[in-house]
Every structure is written in structure tokens, then in C-alpha cells.
């Protein structure tokens, strides 16, 4: 968000560079970058909520909804087009968030967190019980088509990465514009003192509801893209540890910019990949220690490394 204050060139530059880069990356990096950016999208939504003083421990709900929307559409309607699937995921998450947000917007702090967690676990329980959907084994999602073009698996991964880059840039652009708008500035105001905001005449609950739906849509998009990249969906995507990971990356990245979530996701994946590969018997400890060190030395998140000046803006 602060990036835009400096001038609107940073966002298109970063994502344009990524798009160009994606053409020369090795297949493994293509896959990895897709997953990183998709998870970054989810975290972007959490960033907006965090600035409002709310931490959702249940974003996995929408992550899963997006993924299962894609999977079910492919399985039962034969819908293969990536754009249509993405739109479907967005619609499904938005619908669910509209309903649930109406209840959740009245809660704060730990109660918001726990209630959002409860909803995601209820979905988890439902999915596990559903043998039609494969229960905990889930089911496979075949490679998508792109507006009628049905590429082979390798090309499909590249195309998917480009789609993800586009989604990530659109998402962060919209987030940045929103946060710069008057309603967007309400985020930190609500976090600081909600009652005063009410007295000033702004509808706090409606604002929270809007942010919640926005975050849900981002999470749904992320879930859809991960489902397409990994090619497999299962109820684990809605489990609380998945939500926990997203929260982790959010705080790791810090609240500094709409680009921070993507950097945070990249670093998390990098640490995890290395830890699993080179410390197969102790990777969880390595992950925990690395993350602790990062929190200790970079309390405002990894993005604080890039802050050149202190800004008056939150």
C-alpha cells in the first residue's frame, strides 16, 4: 500500500518482471512460483483483515471452498476452462462469506478467530464424512483449458503461472486501491478505536463485512489456483493447520505493503523446501527456529527490510 504512495509504477513492474521471468524458469520453479503466488493471494486477504485488527483463523474455509468448487465443477459439469473455474471459485467464496460474515462481523479478537476456525472445521468434518467426495483422500483435478485452448501438461503449467501472476497483480492492485480509499483507511481506524469510528458516522460492521468478503474471495481464488497447480484436492485444505500456516505467513510478511504477502509466501516455501530436503528428520524444528529468528529480528515482518523511510501512513 505504501508502494502506491510513492508512485504507481512498483506493482506493474514487479508483476511484469515476474511474468517475463516465468517464461524462462525451470518446470519446478514454474510450479513453485504458482503455488507461492496463489498462497500469497490468501495472505493478502488476511493482511486486510489484520490491519482492521482481526485475525481470521479460518481462511482455510474459503481456500477449500475455492478448491472444491473447481474440483466439483470439473468432475460433475465437465467445466475445464481456467477463467470460468476461477470465476466460479470467486462466486462461491463470496456467497459463503456474505452469509457467514453477517454473523462474524460482530465478533472481535480471539472470538472472531475461534468462530472462523469453528466454521472451517465444520466444513472439514462435512468433507471428511462425504465418501462421494473421496473423504480424506480427496480427488484429482485434471489440467485446465484456457479459453478453448487445451495445452499439454507442461505448457498448461506455464499458462497457469501466467494466469496466477495476472490474478496476483489484479488482486494486489485492487487491494492497494481499496486501502487507499476512504473506506480502506477505516481499517486501521477500526483497529485503533472502533467506538470512535462509529461516533464519526462510519458503519463499522458493514465495513468489516466488506473486508471479510473481499478476503474470502482472495482466499477462494488462491484455493482454486492451488487446486489447479497441484492437481489434487482434499479436506486437509480446510483444516485448521492450513489456516495457521496462512496466519504465520501473514505475520512473517508484515503489514507493510500489498506485495509483502507474496514475499512472505516465497520465503516460507523456500525455508520449508530446504528444511524438508536437507533435514528430513528435523525439518519442523528447523522451520520453527528459522521463523523465530525472523520474528525476533524483523518484528514488522520481512517487508520492513525494504522500507526506506518511515512513513506517516500506517
Amino acid at each position: 500500500m505504501g508502494a502506491l504512495a510513492r508512485g504507481p509504477w512498483l506493482l506493474p513492474l514487479v508483476f511484469g518482471a515476474l511474468a517475463l521471468l516465468s517464461l524462462v524458469l525451470t518446470p519446478f520453479l514454474v510450479y513453485l512460483l504458482t503455488v507461492i503466488l496463489a498462497r500469497g493471494l490468501v495472505v493478502l486477504g488476511l493482511l486486510i483483515l489484520w490491519r482492521t485488527g482481526l485475525m481470521s483463523f479460518g481462511q482455510a474455509l474459503y481456500f477449500g471452498v475455492g478448491a472444491y468448487a473447481v474440483g466439483l465443477a470439473e468432475k460433475y459439469w465437465g467445466l475445464r476452462d481456467a477463467f470460468a473455474l476461477l470465476a466460479l471459485a470467486l462466486a462461491a467464496s463470496a456467497a459463503m462469506a456474505l452469509v457467514l460474515g453477517w454473523l462474524l462481523r460482530q465478533y472481535r479478537d480471539i472470538y472472531f478467530a475461534m468462530l472462523s476456525l469453528a466454521f472451517s472445521m465444520i466444513l472439514y468434518g462435512t468433507l471428511v464424512k462425504s465418501r462421494v467426495l473421496g473423504s480424506t483422500d480427496g480427488f484429482t483435478v485434471p489440467a485446465p483449458h484456457f479459453l478453448g485452448w487445451a495445452p499439454g501438461p507442461a505448457l498448461a503449467m506455464h499458462a497457469l503461472l501466467l494466469l496466477t501472476v495476472a490474478a496476483a497483480s489484479l488482486g494486489s492492485f485492487l487491494a492497494a486501491r481499496y486501502l487507499a480509499s476512504p473506506m480502506g483507511h477505516l481499517t486501521t481506524a477500526i483497529r485503533d478505536n472502533e467506538i470512535r469510528v462509529e461516533y464519526l458516522g462510519y458503519p463499522v460492521r458493514r465495513a468489516i463485512h466488506v473486508k471479510y468478503v473481499f478476503a474470502a474471495m482472495l482466499a477462494g481464488a488462491g484455493g482454486a489456483l492451488v487446486a489447479l497447480a497441484v492437481g489434487h484436492i482434499d479436506p486437509d485444505m480446510t483444516y485448521w493447520t492450513t489456516s495457521g500456516e496462512f496466519v504465520f505467513i501473514t505475520i512473517l510478511a508484515g503489514p507493510g505493503s500489498v506485495l509483502a504477502p507474496f514475499l512472505g509466501a516465497a520465503i516460507f516455501e523456500a525455508v520449508r523446501t530446504y528444511a524438508t530436503a536437507y533435514a528430513p528428520y528435523s525439518w519442523q524444528m528447523v522451520l520453527g527456529i528459522c521463523l523465530l529468528l525472523l520474528i525476533l529480528f524483523l518484528p514488522r515482518g520481512v517487508w520492513s527490510l525494504f522500507g526506506a523511510r518511515r512513513r506517516a501512513a500506517p
Binding site: 520453479l29 510450479y31 480427496g138 480427488f139 520465503i267 523446501t273 530436503a277 525439518w283
Partner: protein, 435 residues
């Protein structure tokens, strides 16, 4: 924040991504070695009963293959003469992570073949990626029949039989031993493995004894650990026979909580993975429990030179006898070796297509049991299975299994081309040579 820290930040970010770029160039395959990925649970709840025993077996067998010290027909060195370089990674994590680690293994670290996977979810997630990356992948333990029933695969193989044979053979064993049973029920963990195992058993036992009464089966949460309410419910019910696919910590907790309350004396239990716990629980496991081992493995294995070597070497090195996951890993490695060797007969430096062709439809004997890659268009193995009853020998303080019955493959497996759930629903037609 200074300009220096900002620069440092950019380098950090770049390093994070760049560090994942492969250092060496794309798979400059050294013809004299085969980089073999081995994937199993090194942490988490499945490590104790399945992961570590299979990891141990992999270590043992890979060493022996490289040294060429195994009995015939496995006595040549390596895979088609090429030395094995194992890369062992942890299967623990979400399916997304498992798939990512598989890609890392193949695309970044250059594995040319992968043997692994305990969890059915992992297998289902990895199979399409194996096809995409055109890498020979052999699943050694996961039980779901869906792998080859839902889709055809070219590069994926599984020499161990599916979990269908556990339930069908158990049902036959129960029916033949407990002729006066009137009611049955089950207690299984509430996830795919538990639900599918129960559904197969329920269908099979109803096929064999149509008049049997079914009490509501129980499905406690996976890793619940606390079963007092379930045990009370089972004690209050009328079932003579109970099916369970509990494993690991849940299995042990359940046994430790149920035994003092007399549950195993009141009802006859079949536990499909019980063999993994028999040496650990010893006298705490009640006599009379029917022990599944997913095949004629562990103490059910036939006496052959290979088996004698395996049991002796494993117990020597790891302090405890090998259990069925160890056998499954061993046979998967040995089957893969045979495929490589067979392919080498035609082409001394076999490529993946040669090995795939050799593996398809392969028939081989291991630990005294014949395995035929006869399902899944030649990619899925079938073999016999044994069931028996637990008896703790107090005199020698040894866990033993008595009243062993072997069920041949053609009795307990569905015919090629038929889905196992359909086969059971239709009454297991065509099952022959059943004892």
C-alpha cells in the same frame, strides 16, 4: 531502515527464490547410478508403525542390492547393474506438500525412480504428477484401489495388493470360524481408510452370510486417542464380531483401554493392521484377536532363503523383527529391480520406457509368495493373503499367530477390469479356490 538494509532485503528475496534453482544442470544422468527416491513417514503418527519399519527395510535392501548379496533371482548388483543412490524424504505433511516434495525430488534433485508412499491421499495426489513427469513411481503401501480403478497409469506401479483383500479374506475367515455369529459391527477411524475398509468388510460379510444383523458402526475421529465412550457402546451392543482398521497410536490406545474392560473376551475382533503392533504390545494384546498383515508378510511369510536372510539381517540391525510395511517396501524394491534387470536383457542401459514395458504384467516370487502384476492393465499386483489368530505364548514370552489360513489371490481379489466396490456389491462372483 537504511539503504543498506533495503539492499540486503532484495538480496534476501532473490536468494530465497534462486536458492531453489537446481545447482547442477538438468539430470545429467550418470549411467552407472540410479538416483532412487524413497518416500515414507519419518515423523508424525504413521512413522512408528509404518514409516520407520519401511525406511529400515529400504536401507537394508538397497545395501544388499548394491552389494549383490541377495539370493537368486535378485543376486545381480544394482538395478540393471547401476548402483542405487537412495534419497530418503519424509512423507509427512499435507497432500500439497507431498506433491511439492515429489516434484522437488524428481525435477530438482534428479531422482529417476521413486518408491514410496503410505498414505492413500499421497498416492492419489502423486500419481498424475508421476505421469506428467514421466518418472517410474512404485507405490509400496497405500491401499486404495482407486489408483488404478479410477484411471489408467503408465509410469505408476504398485506391487502390493490393495486393501480390498484385507476385508474379503477377513470376512471369509470370520464366517468359517464363527459359524454361530449373529451380529457384527465395526469401529474405524473416521477418514477414507477407515470408511473404505469398513465398507468393504460390511459388503463382503453380508455376501457370505446374508442374514447377519449389523449394529451401527462407530467412527471415532482420527487420532482421538480416547475411546471410553466407544468401548462402553461396544460393550452394550450385541455384536459377536467387530471389524477394525485402527492403526498406530490409536490402535494401541484402544487395545490398552479396552482389554481391562473385557471387550476382547466378549467380542471377536479383526484388526487389519494389527501385525504392526504385535511385537510392541506383546502380552497386552488379547488372545483371540484376528491379525491382519495386508498379505502373507511378517510372521505369515513362507520360509525361504530370502526370508531367512531378511528376518535375520533386519532383527540384527534394528533390534526388532520386520513387520509387514518392511516386507512391502522390500518386495517393491525387488520387483523394481527385476523390471530393470529384465529390461537390461534387451537394452543394457534401459530407459524409463524399457523398464515400464518390463514391469507391466511382470510375475515374480518374493518371500515364497507369487506376485502377479495382473490388474490395472498390468500395473497393479495381486497376491495371496493370510489371516490368523493371536496367541501370546507365556512360556516363551513370544507373540505368535495360530490357526493360519492362506487365501489365494483369485479368491480375494476382484477380476481385472471390475471395480472392487462393484465386485463386492455383486457378491464377489468368480472367487475361486477359497479355503
Amino acid at each position: 531502515m537504511t539503504k543498506f538494509t533495503a539492499k540486503a532485503g532484495w538480496w534476501l528475496g532473490a536468494a530465497a527464490l534462486a536458492g531453489i534453482v537446481p545447482v547442477q544442470q538438468a539430470a545429467a544422468q550418470d549411467a552407472a547410478t540410479v538416483k532412487l527416491g524413497v518416500v515414507t513417514f519419518l515423523s508424525g503418527a504413521a512413522a512408528g508403525p509404518f514409516g520407520i519399519p519401511s525406511r529400515n527395510a529400504a536401507e537394508l535392501v538397497v545395501e544388499a542390492i548394491n552389494a549383490g548379496t541377495l539370493p537368486a533371482p535378485y543376486n545381480s548388483k544394482g538395478f540393471a547393474g547401476a548402483k542405487l543412490e537412495p534419497i530418503i524424504i519424509d512423507e509427512n505433511g499435507s497432500t500439497t506438500e507431498v506433491v511439492q516434495n515429489y516434484r522437488d525430488l524428481v525435477q530438482r534433485r534428479g531422482a529417476t525412480a521413486v518408491v514410496g508412499y503410505v498414505s492413500s491421499g499421497s498416492c492419489l495426489g502423486v500419481a498424475p504428477v508421476a505421469e506428467e513427469l514421466k518418472t517410474l513411481t512404485v507405490f509400496f503401501d497405500c491401499g486404495t484401489p482407486r489408483i488404478f480403478e479410477d484411471e489408467d497409469h503408465h509410469y505408476v506401479f504398485r506391487a502390493s495388493a490393495t486393501s480390498t483383500i484385507d476385508s474379503t479374506s477377513a470376512a471369509r475367515y470370520m464366517v468359517s470360524r464363527y459359524k454361530d455369529m449373529k451380529a457384527f459391527t465395526g469401529i474405524n477411524q473416521n477418514y477414507a481408510w477407515g470408511q473404505d475398509s469398513w465398507s468393504d468388510f460390511e459388503g463382503a460379510i453380508k455376501d457370505l452370510k446374508p442374514g447377519l444383523k449389523e449394529e451401527d458402526p462407530l467412527f471415532p475421529k482420527l487420532f482421538a486417542g480416547q475411546y471410553s465412550a466407544e468401548i462402553t457402546t461396544l460393550l452394550a451392543k450385541d455384536a459377536d464380531v467387530v471389524h477394525s482398521s485402527f492403526w498406530g497410536g490409536d490402535l494401541e490406545s484402544f487395545v490398552l483401554q479396552a482389554d481391562p474392560r473385557g471387550l476382547f473376551q466378549k467380542e471377536r475382533f479383526y484388526i487389519s493392521t494389527a501385525e504392526t503392533a504385535m511385537f510392541r504390545l506383546g502380552p497386552k494384546l488379547a488372545d483371540g484377536i484376528i491379525m491382519g498383515a495386508r498379505g502373507p508378510w511378517g510372521v505369515y511369510s513362507h520360509d525361504t532363503e530370502l526370508n531367512r536372510w531378511f528376518r535375520h539381517a533386519y532383527t540384527d540391525r534394528f533390534g526388532t523383527p520386520p513387520v509387514y510395511p518392511s516386507y512391502q517396501m522390500a518386495l517393491s524394491l525387488l520387483g523394481t529391480k527385476l523390471a530393470y534387470d529384465k529390461a537390461a536383457a534387451a537394452n543394457p542401459k534401459p530407459g524409463v520406457e524399457d523398464v515400464v514395458r518390463a514391469f507391466t504384467g511382470l510375475e515374480f516370487e518374493v518371500f515364497g509368495t507369487k506376485i502377479a502384476m495382473a490388474q490395472g492393465k498390468g500395473h497393479q499386483g495381486i497376491h495371496e493373503i493370510a489371516q490368523g489368530t493371536y496367541k501370546y505364548d507365556k512360556a516363551t514370552t513370544t507373540p505368535t499367530i495360530t490357526d493360519i489360513v492362506y487365501y489365494p489371490a483369485e479368491c480375494v481379489s476382484p477380476p481385472e477390469g471390475t471395480k472392487s466396490t462393484d465386485w463386492i456389491k455383486d457378491g464377489m462372483k468368480g472367487a475361486k479356490n477359497c479355503p
